[in-house]
Every structure is written in C-alpha cells, then in structure tokens.
Symmetry: C2
Subunit: 282 residues, 2 copies
DNA sequence: GAGTGGTCTAGACCACTAT
DNA sequence: TAGTGGTCTAGACCACTCC
C-alpha cells in the first residue's frame, strides 16, 4: 500500500542526486549490518530467511531479498540456495602478492610472489593453506594457430603456433578462477609429449631452455561476470570478477606467456609492490 | 523491427550444450548483446526502455529490468535515470599504470606511473585527457590523532599526529574515487599553514624535506559498494568498486603516506609491472 | 504531460535438500 | 514434507527531466 509512510531525516542536498533517500532495503541492510558488526549475529550463524525478514520488517519478500543481496555484495554474508544466508565471507581471500617484498614489512601471513615464484604450482600454494585444490582443464592443452589477441600480446604473427592451456582452478570444490594462457610453441611445444608431472611450467622451462621468468605485467579490471563466466565459476550475476591479463618476460626479453584470467573477486586480494619511477624535472 | 523472437528456445541449440536452460532475463541479455556486438545497436544509441522490452519479449517489467541490469554489469550499456539505457560503457577506463615501463611496450595511450609520478596532480592527468577534473574535500585537511589503522600502517603510535586528507575526485562531474590519506604530521603539518597551491604534495615534500617517494605497495580488492560509498560515488549498488590501500615509502624507508582509496571499478583499469623475485632453490 | 529508471508489493512456481 | 534461495508476474508510486 503505502510506499513511504516512514519519515526519513532528509540530509543535505547531495549535489545532483542519485538517491539520497534511504530505501527500505537499505534500512534492513543497516540493521543487519549493525547486528553483524556488534556480534549479535556472530560469524557463521544463519540469518533469517527472506520470508522471515519480510515479515519482521513488514516488507515484501523481494525487498528483504534485495537487502540480503546487498549484504552479500558487501561481503558480509554468503548466500546458498536451499541452505540459507550466513554471516561471513565464505572463505578468506587468497592473497596474491607481486613484486619484491619490502624489508619494512612484517608479512606474517604473506606468501610473497607466490603466484610467479612457484609458478604453476597453484596446487602447492593452496595446499599450504589447507585447501584441497584442483585444476580442471576446460580444453586439452594443445598447439593452435595463434588467435589474434594472443599473437598481438606475444608479439608473434597469427600463423605461428602457440601452446594453449585453458583451465579452471578450484579449492575445496569452489571455483577460484579461469585461466586461458598462451605460450610460444617453439619453447613449450614439448610439454605436450613429455610428462613433466606436477612440475611448474616455468621450472621446466628453466631446466630445459635456461629461460627464467624475470618480469611481468598485469592489467586488471573489475566488473560483473558475463553468462559463461557465471556458469563456469558458479557465481551469481552480482558477484564481481577481476579480469586481468598477464604478460611474462624472460631474461632475453622474450615474452614467454600471455594469459587472460578471470578471478572471483570475493576470493582474491591483489597486492603489488613497485618502485616509483623518477622523472628528472627539466 | 524484429519482435517475433518471443518464442522461447525450444529446439534451437545455440552451441554444443552451452546455453541450456537460461532464464528469460538471460535470453533477453543474449539477444541484446548480439545486437550490440554485430552493430545493429551502435555505440551510444538508446536501447528500448524497460517497459518497451517487457512488451517486446513478453515478460514482466522486472524481468526486462533485470536483463538491462545484467548488461550494465557486463559493461556493455550504461543506464541513466530518466534518460534511458545506452550502448557503451559510460566513459573509457582511466588507466593507472604502476611500475617501470617496459621498453617493449608501445604504450600509445598509456600515461605510465601517472598516479605517483605526478603525485597529487590528478588534475593535470585528467586535463591531459580532456576531462574536467575536480577535487572536493569531504573534510577539511587537518591534523588529527592517528586512527588505529592509519597508525599501524604508518608504523606510528596512536598518540601521534597525522595529517588527514579526505577527498572525492571527479571528472566531468562524474565521481571517480574517494581518497582518505594520512601523512606524518612532522613532515606534512606545514602544508596546512602554507599555501602550496596546486603543487603536488610529494613535490613539495622533496623541495622542503628532500624526501622522495621511491616505493609503493598497493593491496586491492574488488567488491560491491556499501551504502555510504554508493552515496558518495553516486553509483548503483550493482556497480563494483575497487578498494585499495596504498603505502608509500621515501628513500630513507620512512612511510610518508598511507591511503585508503575507493575507486569506481567501471572507470578504472589497473596496470602493474614488476620484477619477479628469484629464489635460489636449494 | 509523457516517459525514464528506482523502488516496492503480494502473490506465484521452481529446483533443490535436509529431515 | 517443509523450507530455502532463484525467478517471475502484473501491477503500483516515486523523483526526475524533457518537451
């Protein structure tokens, strides 16, 4: 019936307006958030269901639902179909630190450079955290003609061959990220016919060809997932992903990998450390 | 135009078993996406309104609305209250590159290290892009007792004074990010009583104290915004933000800034370049 | 006044699972 | 079987802008 019979204190005019009005869903969010932050709703407890909330707050179920979705978006709760909504992010974020480690850092829980230092050994990194990691190949690794984008980033022409690996990584059955990576075939083609076991690809590269990954560049954006990403990562449309591209150089300045990675944003924390380039002012 | 695609897919296999049992909203998304990608809906054109779509596709308005929200989440369209939904991201992403620039990069549109090289001169960086940048202080810069978190990151105790700056940066009236930054008062206290004009804070620091920002660390997560972030950045709850912390070191290893930054994810692209640390395997 | 997106209602059916 | 979240319907009022 009545859309707006509660009188909200009208705040300052916020320039050109988005919505300054606090919605009913927001009110529920604030109330639940307060309960979570002060401990009345401890970690891992189940929140009232959408139907219960709608009754408690006198709103429709869609509004209560919206409130829970907003809370999920802020990372305070996790929602599971059938089971309910629970306090707390579902897992700690996986720290991914890149760059050298500054001596002034205590770095208690940090695993610096994990990603590239133990390159390919996602498995070890996750096991070190007590997770059960798995890698699922979405396609069999294969030599393919270079796709235009991969060729561009690898500085090769499209008639050259690349090794492509396309895989999904999970921890405790929970999908973490999709990796689509390309490698020059002349360096890596052998791995298709050679059993290198669990050996990280770049360790193998060093032993076989004397090439070391010495430098990398990553370009990140955060966005919401498209439908195939949602399906593969088993996430809701409201859960953002971090999409990033990585280029890796060897000491001879050859590019030895270009990869496109889609990571579930809520499961990741990215850390970068870098020197600030100086410019000599004229 | 074509409006007989009201038929729900019965026996039309899109691809090998990929899109099975998609929702009605997803179907609309796929149709609109196809039209956008093949040019039937060119950049900047207005999409049908929610009400028009609901009629064309024979669904309720909420379902049509959901479809448009999903498209917005994928960055293919931009929605404006009152005006409508338009093809295209609202603005190009602002590239923020950190680290040295690899010579193998062409870097046509890159402004490398903009953020810290011309530190504080957000204004110049944006003007170079033809934008009209503005900085709005959400609080007056002031010396305050160090908040616990800031003190921790600056390696100071909470009884020491910090200079706090809390501001919102916009371009063409569009909010880009919120910056909450803290500086040791012994170094920076003066700027409150000295008019340094538009001079970047770190340029001033170098002239005044001979200290240079030489190294930085950033820790990023992507998530959805909380209510105050939504209000300040004027974004919808569905638009993710990138929240990151930055620590900046001077050449004497002092930490000269710690900042917490909330950036509208859709307007940013983060780029990092770093050396891969080597470990000598035993 | 017409039309937009934002919010909300009071229902509904579904797939799924824990009991 | 009862209860969960996921999806959907067919309406509604709002603030706002453009005409």
């Amino acid at each position: 019936m009545d859309q707006e019979d509660n009188e909200m204190p009208k705040g300052q005019p916020e320039l050109a307006g988005y919505d300054t009005d606090v919605s009913k869903a927001e009110n529920i969010v604030e109330e639940l958030k307060a309960q979570i932050l002060d401990g009345r709703l401890p970690e891992r407890t189940r929140l009232p269901s959408e139907r219960e909330l709608s009754e408690q707050f006198g709103v429709s179920r869609m509004t209560a639902r919206r409130a829970l979705q907003l809370l999920e978006g802020e990372g305070l709760v996790t929602r599971y179909p059938v089971r309910g909504t629970f306090v707390g992010g579902m897992h700690e974020r996986l720290l991914q630190h890149h760059g050298e480690e500054t001596p002034t850092e205590s770095a208690a829980s940090t695993v610096p450079g994990e990603e590239l230092r133990a390159y390919g050994s996602f498995i070890k990194a996750m096991e070190a955290r007590g997770r059960k990691p798995e890698v699922q190949f979405l396609e069999s690794p294969a030599l393919i003609a270079a796709p235009a984008e991969a060729a561009k980033h690898l500085h090769l022409s499209t008639d050259q061959l690349l090794l492509k690996r396309y895989r999904l990584q999970t921890a405790d059955k929970l999908p973490y990220r999709i990796i689509e990576s390309y490698y020059p075939a002349d360096l890596f083609g052998e791995v298709l016919t050679t059993n290198i076991g669990q050996q990280p690809l770049f360790d193998w590269l060093e032993e076989r060809h004397g090439l070391t990954a010495v430098r990398a560049k990553e370009v990140l954006i955060a966005r919401r997932p498209n439908s195939s990403e949602r399906a593969q990562l088993k996430i809701s449309p409201d859960a953002p992903v971090v999409a990033f591209e990585r280029t890796v150089w060897a000491q001879d300045e050859r590019i030895i990998e270009w990869a496109r990675i889609i990571a579930v944003a809520g499961l990741y924390e990215f850390s970068y450390e870098y020197d600030i380039p100086h410019h000599n002012k004229g």
